[in-house]
Structures are given as structure tokens and as C-alpha cells.
Amino acid sequence: MLGTGLIQGLAVTAKNLVGSFHDPERYTTVEYPEVKPKLPENYRNFPFLVSETAEDPMGTLRCVACQICEKECPPQCIYIVKSKDKKLDASGKAQLYPATFAIDTSVCMSCQICVEVCPFDAIKMDQEFEIATTDRFHGLLLNREQLAKPNSYYHQIHPTEAAAVDALLVAARKAAEEKAKAAAAAKAAAAAKADVARVSRPVNPAAANTNTGQETRATPATSAPQPPAAPSAEAPKPPPPAA
């Protein structure tokens, strides 16, 4: 009969009208400034630098200032100055660190390429979206102190991804340690065997470590171009530190 469909429609809207008062599940919006929206895990906007601890972010940055991201960045919004000295990283190895690390977020296009090429899992994508500023030039140019955020924060915003990264880092470090141990044992054996031969080539620990690190990860990083020249070639490349 004419009109039954109309009454059905009216019933649907009435149900919504009443339901929205007692069933918060129905709400499609949040009252934003007071209630923050729950962002999807894969949401990303601008990169940040991962540090091991929250207490000393500058001292425990994972970044070793290798400048791969700076070179890969399509809009060239990253600016890095290497340190002159070295600092101990999480695994106790002496490493360079970025004396300056700046990202111009007015230029950044959130492509995530820096994250994909980083061999040290030192740069990740952030979810911070309240980035409005009254200073459009300096306010959007983020320095190293503003970019550094602890690993625990990374776990907060991307839990799945962060857990996978941590597992990979631990595995890589263990493999590197075992390889180093095996290499040391082999070296000792070779040294014992060929004691007479004074000129035996030593194993290059840097190359071995870098390779193991990249084989274990299933990210496009394997297809990323190798750094043309390792910065400060005299420093052996460390295994990436675990959290």
C-alpha cells in the first residue's frame, strides 16, 4: 500500500534519533578538541627519529648520520650534518651521530621513502597531526630535538610494525653476534693453523654485518641502493641495536 515505505523510513530515522542518546556506539563523530580521534594504525604524516630511551633522546638516537635518507628524499626536505666525534650506541659500539638533523615539514610529502631506505630503523612515520603553527617558515622546520621520539612512542602509534621491527633488530643482533663469534673462532683457528703464514686476510666485519641485517628484513630496503660510500669508512658498521 502507498505509504508503508514512508512509515518504514520514518521508523529508521526515529530509531537513530532515540538510539543516539543512549547508545554511544552509534556515534560517528568525536568531540574533537576534548576527545582525540582514534587513528588507524597505518595512518602516517611526517617522519620522526626513533631514540632508544625517553630520558636521553639525544644520546640514544638510532640515527648514525649515514645520510641515505637525505639523498633519497624526493623533495629534499631532510638536512643532516654529521658529528665530528663518536658516541656509543645501544649495542656499545662507537658511532657517528647527527649533529644537525632537520626536516622541513612544509616540503615533506609524507612519501615514507626515508623510512624504507633507512638501514637502522632510525626514522619512522609519525601520527601527530596537530601541527599548525603561526610561523610558517621556522615553525614547520623541525630540528633534531623536535623530531626525536622514544621507541615506546613508536610502539604506541604503530604497535604491529614496531613489534616486527624490534624482533628483526634482536634477530639481526643475535645473528651478527654469532657470526662475529664464528668469525673470531675461525680466525683464531686459522691463526693457529697458519701461524707461520703472516699475511692472512682478515674478515671484514662491517660488510658481513650489513648483509645479515638486510637479508633478514623483508622490506623494500633490500632493493634500495647501497650507500655509495660508507661515511667514515674507517668505522666498521655495527649491527643495528635492539630496543
Binding site: L2, T13, N16, S20, T28, T29
Partner: protein, 437 residues
């Protein structure tokens, strides 16, 4: 509210119409709340010398109507947005701030849950730039919103808002109401023509087509009421609905077969007359930008909305007067609540119905709109007219005949409804696709 009618004339109508309601009038009229508006009016205008009192009374009524319906308009816009929001599962506007003054800083901390929104909207509308297009007819462009609001307000004059609360008591009040109401469409056409904008003009043409289509069922739907009540005066029509059958069934026209059908037709036509969704074709934003409102901004734009709500209030008020017993209480023991409160409650209920419908139905196409009127509402309204005649003729005879008129009159209107409805929806079928599955 507005008061011009003197108490003596009220008792005249009761004597004319229904004898048993006389006692009720006598007991209910002397309550303080019932008489408060009249007493307030008399207290204000009583200070003037006698020859000036009638014009002061008229001015008092005008001020009262503008004050009450202006505020009602302000909060109805908020209510509408809140209800639309709730229907769409969101809270609606809820953070209009309270103004902060240096001497009362604490005001800024009060949460008003959006109740300040109408005032924020008003300030915004007032401070916006008023743009008049170069090619526009300047005079008509200015006059259109003014005329629209004027005509919409004129219709409010003859509605009895409560016992003795009618600004102007006319013998042909219903006729006057619909004449003034039809003039609002003229103002819409003025707006569309004066804007010199093709969208506006198209909207204006649509508005006229809609007016002509829906004016007929609107007028035909209340003719039965006038036939039964025997008067075109709104006050007399309310009087005709006084009293209760068996002490609890009110004599409202909506509770008869012809009255119910008339009420439904009236409300559908009223939706179209007030340009409300789903009949808001003149301002169909997906087709015509904003229709006749395209070239309006600032407070002129607000005037159009004010007129729309005034028109909605007027048509709802007329529906209450004609079919829902006007200001009368639904049950005898509820008479202690003042009459204007009952009128307001019924008015708000109808307006909430308008909003509910707006939240539910999609807009009609122009051919669907006119076909629905000419092929469905007009024949149904005409049949309802004959139905009322049958009802009136059968009521004069024996009690058995009076009882038999209920099923007879119900059948007279329900059978054509089903039959015409089937013809209406005959062309509609589940959509079939030639290529897609």
C-alpha cells in the same frame, strides 16, 4: 501572546456553538495563568486614554507575535540542526560560546550545549557583507525578503493561540489565512526574478509550479472542516471542537475519518507550501545551487529562513486550529494547564514532525511532485469532500445510523486511497539493468 478579542465575544460563540462547553469556559477562564496574557495587555494599554487603547492593543499584539515567534524561530533552527544531527548519529551544534565580558569572565566557562547558537548565527548574519548583484533589480531584490516575511507574519494574525488570544478576529479568517499564505510564493518569485540569475529564475518557476499544484489540495482539505463547523472564523472552528464524547474522547476533527484524511492531506500540502523537504525543489541545492536564495547573503538570507519558519509555524498552527482542536486540552482533567500551553505543545509536535520528515525523505523530482498532487492529492481531497457530506447527512438520523457512518466514511476514503496509491506506484518497480548483473 497577542490579545485583541474581548471576553464577551468568547461567550457569544460558545452560546452559538456548543452549549455544554459554557460551564467549562466559566470554570477555566478565571484561572490566573489563563488570564495572564490579557491582564498583562490591559496593564500596559490601560495607562492610555480610551480612544488610543484599540491601537495600543493592536501594537501589543504585533510586538507579542514578533517576540514569541522570533524567539521560536531562533530556537527552532537550533532544534532542527540538533534533530538532523541526532538522526545522523552526531550531536549537532553544541559549542557556540557564551560571550565573555571583562567584568564577567566566568561567563566564558559556562557550557550552554549549543543554546547560544541562534545568537551567534544572528550576529554572523548581521555582520556579513550584503551583496547585491550588478544586474539585479535593486528594489525588487531588497523587497523580496521583506515581502516574504511580511506575508508570512500576516498569516499569524488570525490564529487563535489560546482562549481569547487572537490578534484579529475575522469572519473569513481561514480564507484570509490562505490568501496571505499564497502571497509568500509571489515573494519567492520576486526573489528569483530580481536576482537576474538563471538558477534563481528556474527556482522561482518551480516555486510557482509547486504553489499552483499544492494550493488546490491544501484548500480542498480544509473545506470539510468549514462545512462541519459552519464558519470560516478560526475562533468558531475551535469552539466547534469543544467538549468530549463519553468524557474522554475530544471532539477534534482529526478523530473522524474525513478529518483524519483531511489532516494528512493538509500536512502534505503544507510541507509543499512551506518549501520544506521533501518538497524543497525551489532551493534544491544539488540542482539549483540555492535556488532563489543564490544571490542573497547576510541578513536578507536570514530573512528567508525566518519567513520559512514563520510559514511553517503558521501552517502548523492552522492545522492545529482546524483539525487538532486548537488550544483545547485533550482530556477534561488537563484543563488546568493554560490554553496557550496546549496550543504551543501541539504546534511544536507538528513542527517536530516536519523536521522528522525532513530528516527522512529524499527530495522529489518536479514531475513526481506535480503528479503526486494532481493525480493523488486532489482527487483524494475531492472524495473527502463528498465523504464529509455523507458524514454530515448520516449524523442527523438514528443512533444506529450515527454508528454506521464510521465504517462507511472510513471505507469511502480508504478504498480510493489504496486504489489511487496503486496507480501512483504502478510505474515504480525494482530497477532492472540491461548490462549489469
Amino acid at each position: 501572546m497577542s490579545v485583541v478579542v474581548v471576553a464577551t465575544s468568547a461567550s457569544e460563540w460558545t452560546a452559538l456553538r456548543v452549549v455544554d462547553s459554557l460551564a467549562l469556559v466559566a470554570t477555566a477562564t478565571d484561572r490566573f495563568l489563563e488570564c495572564a496574557p490579557v491582564m498583562l495587555r490591559d496593564a500596559v494599554t490601560g495607562l492610555l486614554p480610551d480612544p488610543w487603547r484599540w491601537i495600543a492593543n493592536g501594537l501589543f499584539a504585533i510586538v507579542a507575535i514578533f517576540a514569541v515567534f522570533g524567539l521560536l524561530f531562533a530556537f527552532l533552527t537550533l532544534a532542527e540542526r540538533k534533530i538532523l544531527g541526532r538522526v545522523q548519529n552526531r550531536p549537532g551544534p553544541n559549542r557556540a560560546p557564551t560571550p565573555t565580558f571583562p567584568f564577567a569572565k566566568f561567563l566564558g566557562k559556562i557550557r550552554t550545549y549549543g543554546l547560544a547558537q541562534p545568537f551567534a548565527d544572528g550576529v554572523k548574519a548581521l555582520t556579513k557583507e550584503d551583496i547585491v548583484p550588478d544586474g539585479a533589480d535593486k528594489v525588487l531584490h531588497f523587497l523580496a525578503p521583506v515581502a516574504l516575511l511580511a506575508f508570512a507574519t500576516l498569516t499569524l494574525v488570525v490564529i487563535p493561540f489560546g482562549r481569547n488570544l487572537v490578534a484579529l478576529q475575522l469572519d473569513a479568517a481561514v480564507l484570509y489565512f490562505f490568501a496571505a499564505g499564497a502571497a509568500t510564493e509571489l515573494a519567492v518569485f520576486m526573489a528569483g526574478w530580481a536576482s537576474r540569475n538563471k538558477y534563481s529564475l528556474l527556482a522561482a518557476m518551480r516555486a510557482l509550479a509547486q504553489l499552483i499544484s499544492y494550493e488546490l489540495p491544501l484548500l480542498l482539505s480544509w473545506v470539510p472542516v468549514v462545512m462541519i463547523a459552519g464558519s470560516l472564523s478560526t475562533v468558531a472552528i475551535v469552539e466547534a471542537q469543544a467538549g468530549w464524547k463519553f468524557g474522554f474522547i475530544p471532539h477534534w476533527h482529526v478523530l473522524t475519518p474525513w478529518g483524519f484524511a483531511g489532516f494528512v492531506i493538509f500536512m502534505v500540502a503544507a510541507l509543499a507550501e512551506s518549501n520544506r523537504s521533501p518538497f524543497d525543489l525551489p532551493e534544491a541545492e544539488s540542482e539549483l545551487i540555492a535556488g532563489h536564495l543564490t544571490e542573497y547573503s547576510g541578513f536578507k538570507y536570514a530573512f528567508f529562513f525566518m519567513a520559512e519558519y514563520f510559514g511553517m509555524c503558521a501552517l502548523s498552527g492552522m492545522a492545529v486550529t482546524l483539525f487538532l482542536g486548537g488550544w483545547r486540552a485533550p482530556l477534561p482533567f488537563l484543563e488546568f494547564i493554560p490554553s496557550y500551553a496546549w496550543f504551543g505543545a501541539k504546534l511544536l509536535a507538528l513542527i517536530l514532525g516536519f523536521m522528522w520528515i525532513r530528516a527522512t525523505f529524499p527530495r522529489l523530482r518536479i514531475d513526481q511532485l506535480t503528479r503526486f498532487s494532481w493525480k493523488f492529492l486532489v482527487p483524494l481531497a475531492l472524495i473527502n469532500l463528498g465523504n464529509t457530506v455523507v458524514w454530515a447527512l448520516m449524523s442527523g438520523g438514528s443512533p444506529a445510523l450515527a454508528l454506521a457512518r464510521w465504517p462507511v466514511c472510513a471505507a469511502i476514503i480508504v478504498v480510493p486511497f489504496v486504489w489511487l496509491g496503486r496507480a501512483q506506484s504502478a510505474s515504480y518497480a525494482p530497477r532492472t539493468y540491461r548490462y549489469a548483473a
